[in-house]
């Protein structure tokens, strides 16, 4: 150990031995102080020699470098590792994103799945269903007309089948009227022209000729 009461001074002398003051004009004064001190303390020279010996020992045991092929392989490995790390995040995480999307789709499909469908069953005969059906003209046959409170008269011979047309005034002639009540007269009509089923809508003038 360099003989000096303060450790800080010992560290400064070590820095001088390490060449830290060389080329440092800003440390010229300190360098001169160290050199003066060393001149007055020749015993410190032994310590500096020890520093140099340790340095030489260190340098003489410097590890030999690996062979060139080893370096070449390492360069390739470094380049590959960097390329892998620098791949855009969208690409790096693509497999994870795809898996996440698939999972999301699966969850959505499960939650939005249609309710189990029940096959339509025919109406129970015991229940009352009103079935509205549309019949074609040829499917309907008029067998009877109760005319007392009817506001229209079917013209033709019953049963009537086929399409029924609205009778016009020129289609029929009223031959008689048999009133049961003043407001519910039933007229007997004669169809002239084509014999086809018609409806004669009773009008006030017709009812009271």
């Amino acid at each position: 150990m360099i003989p000096h009461p303060t450790r800080h001074w010992q560290e400064i002398v070590a820095a001088y031995a390490d060449g830290e003051f060389e080329g440092r004009d800003d440390l010229a004064v300190l360098r001169q102080r160290v050199e003066d001190w060393l001149a007055r303390h020749p015993e410190a020279a032994e310590e500096l020699a020890e520093y140099r010996r340790l340095k030489q020992l260190w340098q003489s045991t410097s590890p030999a470098e690996p062979p060139r092929q080893r370096w070449q392989a390492m360069t390739e490995a470094i380049a590959a590792a960097i390329a892998s790390r620098q791949r855009p995040r969208t690409v790096r995480y693509l497999p994870w994103a795809a898996a996440a999307c698939l999972a999301l789709v699966a969850v959505l499909a499960w939650s939005l799945r249609p309710e189990p469908t029940t096959s339509p069953t025919p109406p129970d005969a015991s229940e009352e269903y009103e079935i509205f059906r549309v019949a074609a003209a040829h499917e309907v046959e008029i067998l009877n007309v109760n005319g007392e409170d009817e506001q229209a008269l079917i013209v033709g011979v019953l049963p009537l089948s086929g399409a029924i047309c609205l009778a016009d005034h020129g289609d029929i002639s009223i031959t008689s009227v048999q009133p049961a009540e003043p407001n519910s007269a039933v007229a007997e009509v004669v169809v002239e022209g084509a014999r086809r089923p018609m409806i004669w809508a009773r009008v006030q003038s017709d009812a009271t000729p």
Binding site: W58, P63, E65, A77, I78
Partner: protein, 196 residues
């Protein structure tokens, strides 16, 4: 007439700029420029070739991957050596230092036997190997912070200021760590007088 070949040596900054642009050759040049010192630092801190190579590779990958974070306030060399030495210490912590002789378990005679001696030239290589092993063992006895500081200064030949920059410490701390590291190494290696 003599032919003079002039080599244009690119600076680290130029090589880094080229590497950023995807120039693979820039990586080769940077690697060739600093692989040696990086390896020696890692080797000194770990004591064996295999772990040292792993640490070097890891450090280069980390350094060049995080290149956008490199502000250029320090040199590439000091930045790389910071990563190398930290990486080596991490490897050392995880794996332990292999192949080292613990100085504290050696007796006085064994330590004396390991002292460098004047030998014939034919024995010099063996002596160097033994000396290297002994030095590595002594280095392993230092606290990690002292070891890292000493190796960066002695092996990478960084100045006090550069070591301070690499480790993010003051120059005074560097001086203190080096002082204690030297004292301990000298004691472990049996060099000189350890006057109190």
């Amino acid at each position: 007439m003599a032919t003079v070949s002039v080599w244009s040596v690119a600076s680290d900054e130029q090589l880094l700029a080229r590497w950023k642009r995807g120039d693979r050759q820039a990586l080769d040049e940077l690697f060739q420029r600093y692989r040696g010192v990086a390896y020696r630092v890692a080797y000194r801190l770990l004591g064996n070739e295999a772990d040292a190579l792993d640490a070097v590779q890891d450090a280069f990958v980390k350094t060049l991957t995080h290149l956008p974070n490199f502000q250029g306030r320090s040199s590439f060399k000091t930045w790389l050596l910071r990563v190398v030495s930290n990486s080596a210490l991490d490897y050392g912590r995880k794996r332990g230092r292999h192949g080292l002789v613990r100085m504290d378990i050696l007796g006085p005679q064994q330590r004396e036997d390991m002292m460098p001696t004047v030998a014939d030239e034919s024995d010099r290589r063996l002596e160097q190997d033994e000396l290297r092993r002994r030095l590595a063992a002594a280095l392993g006895e230092l606290p990690p912070a002292q070891r890292q500081t000493f190796v960066l200064h002695a092996e990478a030949e960084l100045s006090y200021r550069e070591v301070a920059e690499v480790l993010g410490i003051s120059i005074g701390t560097v001086m203190s760590r080096l002082f204690y590291a030297r004292q301990k190494l000298r004691a472990l290696l049996g060099l000189g007088l350890t006057r109190k």
